[in-house]
């Protein structure tokens, strides 16, 4: 009985040792991974700040103004001024799209159109 207990204890200690070794190994691996991720974050962050700087540099008002001047013949962009404010009512409606009636095609007579096109009205019985 006692020897069994000793055996179990010894086995337990060995198992725990293996577990502890394993955990240690995993921790070290996790730390190495973390360092790699941190380096990657750092590199990405540096690239991001570089790109943000680049974006700000390319969007600087001086350059935009030069681009506008260069493309004036095509775009005709003028500085925004108060005279350019308008009313919503001054905007013209877009032209109505041509009505496509299913089933009707070039050459179909109007009477025939009336009979086949019952999808426009709500109820075929009420259609003229």
């Amino acid at each position: 009985m006692r020897s069994l207990l000793y055996l179990m204890t010894a086995l337990g200690v060995m198992a725990l040792a293996v577990w502890a070794y394993h955990e240690n190994h995993r921790t070290q691996q996790a730390r190495a991974d973390m360092r790699a991720v941190e380096r990657e974050i750092e590199a990405l962050r540096a690239a991001l700040s570089m790109q943000r700087a680049e974006w700000a540099y390319l969007n600087r008002p001086d350059r935009l103004r030069q681009l506008v001047d260069m493309n004036f013949t095509r775009l005709r962009l003028m500085p925004m001024t108060v005279e350019q404010y308008g009313h919503i009512g001054e905007i013209v409606y877009p032209p109505m799209p041509p009505v496509h009636t299913p089933g009707a095609y070039l050459g179909t007579s109007v009477e025939t159109l009336g009979t086949i096109d019952h999808t426009i009205g709500t109820d075929p019985a009420e259609a003229p």
Partner: protein, 592 residues
């Protein structure tokens, strides 16, 4: 320790005499001795066990506590180049919409370790080919100097230059990573940003420190590693700033002015939306301060903040506002404007006389020096000084620029009657355009004090009350009348209702007296006048409009058209929509 003998002689003799076996006594004593020994060793074992248990408990407690601390601590990201205790991080600076005004860029610095050098002379010649400004001979001498082990060659290298230096193939030439301050917008808002340079330098990092402007003033906050990823948000609006600078530069060129400044400020919060000073510079390579000549001619001089000018008639607004506020006059009270007005041996004249008596409103609208001086006489010097002081015109400006605190407004020590009268129309008191803008904001926003600031202030609290709502409304009406029918008609922009006051001040001659043909032309005003949202101050130094038959220098012909153009351009950017049925707010002046 006293050992009890196993065979005490007295008891053995006694036992022998009685005929008992003395060995029994010995066995008995031996048993007692063993019992004692057992007790002792048990106690010792118990003590040891307790000690071990305590030790283990302490160990586990320690490990547990450490785990708890680790679990509770916030995750921390590795930052590079922490090695030398130099914090290279510096927070970005953005405008009010988050657009970048200043950021950091990673570059490399070039240095040499002479003990690794293979051929110093060749390296020097190759380097001089890449960097033409290096002197090959001098560099070779320094590289071959046996007393030298280390040598900085260049503080910043572009990626192409790094590759070119790599291609020399010299093991003694090494690169140190560097953060570089970059102002992507170039000259835009140069005077606000100031500039930055390197402080302490190490091999793997260098400290960036602000050398001027907001970079210097907010240096501690920008360098704080805990706040490195929170950008410093300014109140500047990039697009408004660009438009103001463009129009101002055009105006300055057309009017052949020596310098120009403009400030656009939120009338309620004091946030500076745009602040321009011309000539300007590129903060990426900030020029050194001038060592000779007039410092105000240098491009690094900020005319909007550092310049203290006698701004002329724009100051009349404060005299009139105070006279109204004290109830001494109403807008329609008549004032004696017969000229010239003699005080001692000094005489005050008007640019153009408009009769012997004028209403207070007309004194303001048509800018009568004599009328304003009369109002100042009624107010008295002491009250005038307190009033101007309450608008902040007599103290250094609180704007967050390194240069601002060093500039003191200039005014006479003895605020006598003559000083009071000349100050009433803007001579004898010099102040900076940014302080004038803040004071005008207080005049038109309903009468509460405004502190100018360059930092974003999302929810402003109204400052202390300086003049009543009523006086402020009257001032707004008068300022509107100056534009709709007075000296500043060229400021008019349809529907935006600008208003303000022009000022043309003769420039003081450093040899005493005033120049007769050099002026400072200023326009100070706000828009839209029925509910002012933005204050604008435009100042031109020595402008001259030569399009007419004779040169015109008054602000109405110089500062006013420039201001009008600026308002026309920035009103849509600021979301100020032209009003169709613009209220004629100057009408209240006629009814009263």
């Amino acid at each position: 320790m006293i050992r009890v003998p196993l065979r005490p002689l007295a008891r053995v003799l006694e036992a022998r005499a009685d005929g008992r076996d003395p060995a029994v006594i010995e066995r008995e004593n031996l048993r007692l001795r063993h019992e004692q020994m057992q007790d002792r060793s048990r106690r010792r074992a118990e003590r040891r066990l307790l000690f071990m248990a305590t030790l283990f408990l302490a160990g586990f407690a320690l490990i547990g506590a450490r785990m708890a601390v680790l679990a509770a601590s916030p995750p921390e990201e590795a930052t590079p180049w922490r090695g030398e205790d130099i914090a290279a991080d510096r927070a970005d600076i953005t405008d009010r919409a988050g657009r970048i005004l200043a950021t950091n860029l990673r570059t490399n610095a070039l240095y040499a370790e002479t003990r690794h050098l293979v051929d110093g002379t060749r390296a020097a010649h190759e380097l001089a080919r890449i960097f033409p400004e290096l002197d090959a001979q001098a560099l070779a001498r320094r590289l071959n100097d046996p007393a030298r082990r280390f040598l900085w060659i260049r503080p910043q290298l572009s990626p192409e230059q790094v590759q070119a230096v790599h291609d020399i193939g010299e093991p003694g030439l090494l690169f140190g990573p560097r953060e570089m301050r970059l102002y992507p917008n170039g000259r835009l808002a140069a005077h606000v940003l100031g500039g930055a340079g390197f402080g302490t330098q190490g091999v793997t990092a260098a400290e960036i420190i602000g050398t001027a402007g907001i970079e210097h003033r907010m240096d501690a906050q920008l360098r704080d590693p805990a706040r490195a990823d929170q950008p410093l948000m300014l109140s500047i609006d990039l697009s408004v700033q660009a438009a103001v600078e463009e129009v101002l530069a055009g105006g300055m060129e057309m009017l052949t002015a020596r310098a120009a400044a403009a400030v656009v400020m939120d009338a309620h919060s004091g946030e500076i939306i745009a602040m321009a000073s011309l000539p300007d510079f590129d903060p990426n390579s900030r020029p050194a301060p001038p060592t000779e000549g007039n410092p105000t001619d240098s491009p690094i001089f900020n005319h909007a903040v550092q310049g203290a000018y006698e701004l002329g008639s724009v100051m009349k607004a404060f005299t009139v506002a105070q006279a109204l506020e004290l109830g001494l006059v109403g807008p329609q009270s008549m004032v004696d404007t017969r000229g010239p007005l003699r005080v001692g041996r000094f005489s005050i004249t008007d640019f153009r006389s408009r009769g012997a008596r004028q209403s207070v409103a007309d004194v303001f609208i048509y800018s009568s020096n004599i009328g304003t001086a009369r109002l100042a006489q009624m107010i008295g010097g002491e009250r005038q000084r307190t009033f101007l002081g309450s608008f902040g015109l007599l103290a250094p400006s609180p704007v967050e620029l390194a240069e601002a605190a060093r500039v003191r407004p200039q005014f006479p020590e003895r605020w006598g009657e003559l000083s009071s009268m000349t100050i009433s129309y803007g001579h004898g008191l010099s102040t900076s355009p940014v302080m004038l803008a803040a004071a005008y904001a207080a005049l038109v926003n309903g009468g509460t004090r405004v502190e100018p600031t360059l930092l974003r202030r999302p929810d402003p609290v109204p400052g202390e009350r300086l003049i009543s709502e009523q006086t402020s409304a009257t001032m707004r009406a008068m300022m509107r009348a100056v534009v709709s029918g007075g000296t500043a008609s060229l400021v008019e922009v349809a529907g935006v209702l600008p208003g303000g006051k022009t000022g043309t001040a003769d420039k003081p001659n450093p040899r005493g007296g005033y120049y007769t043909n050099r002026v400072i032309a200023t326009f100070a005003g706000a828009f839209p006048m029925n509910d002012p949202r933005y204050v604008i101050v435009v100042m031109l130094d020595e402008p001259e409009d030569t399009t007419g038959p004779e040169p015109r220098r008054t602000a109405g012909w110089t500062a006013a058209p420039v201001t009008g153009e600026i308002i026309r351009r920035i009103a849509p950017l600021l979301g100020v929509r032209p009003q169709e049925d613009a209220p004629e707010i100057e009408a209240v002046l006629r009814t009263r």
